[in-house]
């Protein structure tokens, strides 16, 4: 996948049928279950090798300025391939990640699911919005909302994540970090 492909996801394809929608929703929901319960090795098993996982920074741009807000040359919040995701998981697994102990409690609510056919028979464009709530220690908390534009690839009976564009809504993140995947 490329980031340009993700930027082109504009909900213009043909809606999938009820059965496909149901199957995709099962995988999308279960992915969140794995993330929220820190079952990250199993989560990573369901990532395609050509994965692009991208959360661009957001900026306040005047409407009259024709330069797009999100471009591939700007710095990102996440811009991962499968290898760099595995590198990040190594930090979590090191047993020396002091700030993650005790662990973060997290719940991600997703909704507004829409799924479309693409020009590839085995790839589906899937849109969701999410609310990510995190709580740590006694009273440290953060709520982030965003929009995801995904490519899910059908491999056998499974749907696997091949691309994700995460559009957080804050131009200044009102939180100290992004210590979980979205």
């Amino acid at each position: 996948m490329t980031r340009d492909q993700l930027l082109a996801l504009e909900a213009k394809g043909e809606h999938v049928n009820m059965q496909t929608f149901f199957d995709i929703q099962r995988f999308v929901n279960h992915e969140i279950y794995l993330l929220n319960h820190e079952i990250l090795d199993k989560w990573a098993d369901n990532l395609e090798d050509d994965l692009i996982y991208w959360a661009p920074i957001r900026e306040n741009i005047l409407r009259r300025n024709r330069t797009p807000e999100i471009t591939t040359t700007r710095v990102s919040l996440f811009e991962e391939d499968k290898d760099s995701i595995m590198m990040r998981l190594k930090r979590n697994d090191s047993g020396m990640c002091w700030t993650e102990d005790p662990p973060t409690r997290q719940v991600t609510a997703i909704s507004n699911l829409e799924a479309f056919h693409t020009d590839k028979a085995d790839e589906f464009e899937v849109h969701t919005v999410f609310t990510l709530y995190r709580s740590r220690f006694e009273r440290d908390d953060s709520t982030l909302m965003g929009r995801r534009k995904d490519i899910w690839r059908k491999v056998g009976d499974e749907y696997r994540l091949a691309g994700r564009l995460i559009l957080l809504q804050q131009s200044t993140l009102l939180t100290k970090n992004l210590n979980v995947f979205m």
Binding site: I57, I61, V75, L77, R88, C97, T172, L173, K176
Partner: protein, 434 residues
């Protein structure tokens, strides 16, 4: 109320009263005594390359606009309409011909001059009203090798005097070739619930924390290279006018290696000989080494990762972190892109190293809500090389061994000088040797 900062900061013995990280009255004094006086980094020239380019940022809590005018000058002015006080620009960056206030439509040029307003005949008939008196309030502006600084204090010395011999060190990043440097596009902003001085004193001279705080992250990228290597062999802390750089001359690609990208190491290796020829042996080893630095009071950077960042104060217990990635302009697009990714994966809100730091600074700050807690002293006493001679000739106040609280003690010495000074005349400047 004037606080007696000198009684709270014993920089010689390294005893720092925790109230300076918490107290609202002290914080208000900092805005006046430090932020309204110092030279502050506001932009890299590459962010405002041509006529009409602008960015918005802050000096202390004062919102400012940085804009390039038609005569190529860079202007820094308050982002506040002098008429009723509203902000005149709500974008973070862009291209524009004039800033028009949303409230009554007063329009200002890229140099801050009041150009006009709706129904201007109302003012034409107003006795004593001169448009020249009502422009955006301007700061003094000077640049150093691509970095744009501004101050609102008319009495401040020149930027050159303010930086002093710290310029010699800065050249190890800013002047490694004839083409200079640039920021990659985009500003990353996040909020830390900590006092601004915790990240500032961390960058000015605390490599000690890396041996523990960052063990988990180091495991992810440096395991095969033997983990984090920091020692007091052939490493130093240098301080000039409160600015500081702690660095190794032994582990000269150590910071860069943490990004886990072989191509960046290869690039740095390929440049070493030429940089050494240009800047000498010591500075030939400083572009990627295990190091961190700070320009007083709150502009920090890391060699290797080439992240540059400001810790903008938002009250005594909140700090906004703005960060950018700087690259040598002569590097190929591929290498610049590697730095874009490497800096993001280590030092950004999702970065495996930055995530370790924020948690520490927040809880160091928030614990001060306890009366007994905040009346304790913190320990900045580490001084393992006391009396040992520095074997090479380096500018500034130099201490042998990067594992040392020397720069942090000198940061708080400088902090006290500013907090107690009646004006710039009371603030000493180190003499230049180089």
């Amino acid at each position: 109320m004037s606080m007696n900062i000198r009684s709270m900061v014993d920089h010689e013995n390294g005893l720092i009263d925790r109230r300076i990280f918490w107290d609202e009255a002290i914080y208000q004094q900092e805005l006046k005594q430090i932020f309204a006086r110092c030279w502050h980094f506001v932009a890299h020239e590459s962010q405002v390359k041509s006529f009409g380019d602008f960015i918005t940022t802050y000096i202390g809590e004062d919102a400012v606009i940085v804009a390039r005018a038609k005569d190529k000058s860079i202007n820094v002015m308050l982002n506040a309409c002098p008429h009723r006080g509203n902000k005149v620009c709500f974008a973070g960056e862009g291209k524009i011909r004039s800033f028009v206030c949303n409230y009554h439509g007063w329009a200002f040029g890229l140099d801050g001059k009041l150009n006009g307003m709706p129904a201007n005949e109302l003012y034409d008939k107003t006795e004593g009203f001169n448009k020249e008196d009502w422009g955006l309030h301007r700061a003094r502006v000077e640049t150093y090798k691509g970095l744009v600084f501004a101050t609102f204090d008319e009495e401040a010395p020149s930027l050159g005097e303010y930086l002093g011999d710290f310029r010699w060190y800065l050249d190890a990043i800013l002047d490694v070739d004839d083409k200079g440097t640039e920021f990659l596009p985009g500003t990353t902003r996040s909020l830390l619930k900590c006092n601004w001085k915790y990240p500032a004193d961390n960058f000015v001279g605390d490599i000690y924390h890396a041996l523990w705080t960052h063990l988990g992250a180091a495991e992810a990228t440096l395991k095969d290279a033997g983990g984090i290597v920091v020692s007091n062999e052939n490493s130093y802390q240098a301080s000039v006018n409160g600015h500081g750089w702690e660095f190794s001359l032994a582990n000269n690609f150590g910071n860069a290696a943490t990004m886990g990208d072989k191509d960046i190491i290869k690039y740095l290796r390929s440049r070493e000989q030429e940089i050494t020829k240009r800047l000498g042996v010591a500075r030939g080893k400083m572009l990627g080494s295990v190091a961190s630095g700070l320009i007083f009071p709150n502009f920090a950077f890391l060699p290797g990762y080439l992240t540059f960042r400001t810790f903008l104060p938002k009250g005594p217990t909140e700090t906004e972190l703005h960060s950018w990635t700087l690259v040598p302009s002569e590097a190929s697009d591929e290498i610049k892109d590697k730095w874009r990714l490497g800096a993001m994966r280590t030092f950004s809100p999702s970065g495996i190293l930055e995530m370790d730091d924020g948690e520490n600074w927040e809880h160091a700050t928030l614990g001060n809500s306890g009366y007994v807690t905040r009346n304790q002293k913190l320990c900045y006493a580490m001084n393992p090389t006391k009396g040992e001679a520095v074997p090479i000739d380096l500018p500034g106040t130099v201490t042998k061994g990067q594992l040392n609280d020397a720069n942090q003690r000198l940061f708080f010495k400088r902090y006290t000088e500013f907090m107690e000074a009646g004006s710039w005349a009371d603030i000493p400047l180190a003499e230049s040797k180089f």
